[in-house]
Amino acid sequence: MPTVDAEQSRTIARLYAELAATLNEYRFGHWTELTKQQRAELESHEWTLLTYSSNMTTHAIRLTVANVADAVTAITRATRKLAAAARRIADVKRGLALASAAVTLGGAIASGNATAIAAAASSALDIADG
């Protein structure tokens, strides 16, 4: 069976919609000339054509999206890399906080102040534990 590409699907969808519109104009234009049965039959065809039109549009969408599936996969992979890079920057910040705490601890040790040493050590451990 020959395959229909996205652009052809759109064209067919438009043609179905135009056919439905033509039948619709005829039905209302000849309302009194048509029997109830004929009107019902025409209307039924209109609904079928509208459904076909919608289905062909759906087909066009699916083909369009399928054509970029590889690009979507690549973007998802790049996103993971970016997130990992952002996490690494956060690690640099953490490293600096730790360095800051270490200097404070060094100063406290140099001062010989037991309270300051305990506080600085506790703060450094908190940062190290994350």
Binding site: W31, L50, A74, A85, L96
Partner: protein, 297 residues
């Protein structure tokens, strides 16, 4: 406000003697100038646009069920179960999910880009200020030494984070530009043509339904006919607003693609003023589009 460029460097020179500290201050000021604000602004706007698509797809899914219910009611089934409309719209639902999946990949990419570009080097600077304070209170350093330690650490941190940040942003923008272009072109086509076709078709279904009902029964039930006509007018007007909003959304997606191309073209100068101006102009365009989209969905 942080000063940037030669003027700032000049002021720094007049305040302190020309020594290593001065050099470090100039380097720190220079590093602060090159923050990729354009990337951050672009990614935020782009992400906001992608966040609008689920609202549009929900409306289209609902519209399909309504259109099918018109058909059922006109073809001899006055009562129908929800299952029958769901089954009739399964194909559209599935296609809409696939569109959302592609859109989500873009949204996540912009989110990650935004997170990386917006990583606060200011936060790093604050941490370094703490280092300076700590060095000061540690004892065996005089004032100039403390300032030198802080400046050195600030420079090192800024280089470590913003250099790494820019290189990762540049890599991602360079490697993904073709993919972002492909996906935005596809989404633009789908929204501008296929979604618009759904709206037109569903509106045609509503027109068919109301016109048939009114033509058959207006003479017998004049009051019901007036109410039905009012209902139709409201529905038709909503369809028109949705069609306008979809056009805006399609243009916004197109602008996202163009914006990424601008970033790609300027990927070696992500802190450039011209790039920021271009991105800000795109962001203003997107803000206007989003206001129109929010009215309809």
């Amino acid at each position: 406000m942080r000063c940037c460029g030669p003027a700032c460097a000049s002021r720094a020179r007049t305040r302190t003697r020309p020594n290593t500290l001065t050099l470090l201050v100039v380097l720190v000021a220079t590093a602060a100038c090159t923050r990729p604000v354009a990337v951050s602004r672009y990614a935020l706007s782009a992400r906001e646009v992608t966040a609008r698509l689920p609202g549009a797809t929900s409306a289209l899914a609902e519209s399909c069920r309504r259109a099918h219910s018109y058909r059922l009611r006109r073809t001899g089934t006055p009562w129908y179960e929800e299952d029958s409309t769901r089954a009739a719209c399964a194909g559209r639902d599935s296609a809409l999910r696939e569109v959302l999946q592609a859109n989500r990949a873009l949204a996540n990419y912009f989110g990650a880009l935004s997170a990386l570009a917006g990583s606060k080097t200011a936060e790093v600077a604050a941490q370094v200020d703490q280092l300076g304070d700590a060095a000061s209170s540690a004892g065996p350093f005089d004032g100039s030494q403390v300032r030198a330690i802080a400046a050195l650490a600030k420079f090192a941190a800024s280089r470590a984070t913003s250099g790494y940040q820019r290189s990762k942003l540049r890599d991602a923008i360079a490697s993904e530009n073709a993919n972002v272009q492909a996906v935005t072109v596809a989404l633009h086509q789908v929204i501008d043509r296929d979604f618009a076709s759904y709206v037109t078709g569903d509106d045609a279904a509503a027109t068919r339904f109301y016109r048939s009902v009114l033509t058959e029964g207006a003479g017998h039930e004049p009051l019901a006919a007036i109410l039905a006509r009012n209902d139709y007018d409201a529905r038709h007007e909503a369809s028109g607003a949705q069609a306008d909003a979809l056009r805006s959304l399609a243009r916004a997606i197109d602008a996202i693609g163009r914006g990424h191309q601008q970033l790609f073209d300027a990927r070696n100068h992500l802190g450039a003023k011209e790039l920021l101006n271009g991105i800000l102009s795109m962001a203003r365009e997107l803000d206007g589009a989003m206001a129109r989209i929010d009215k309809a969905f």
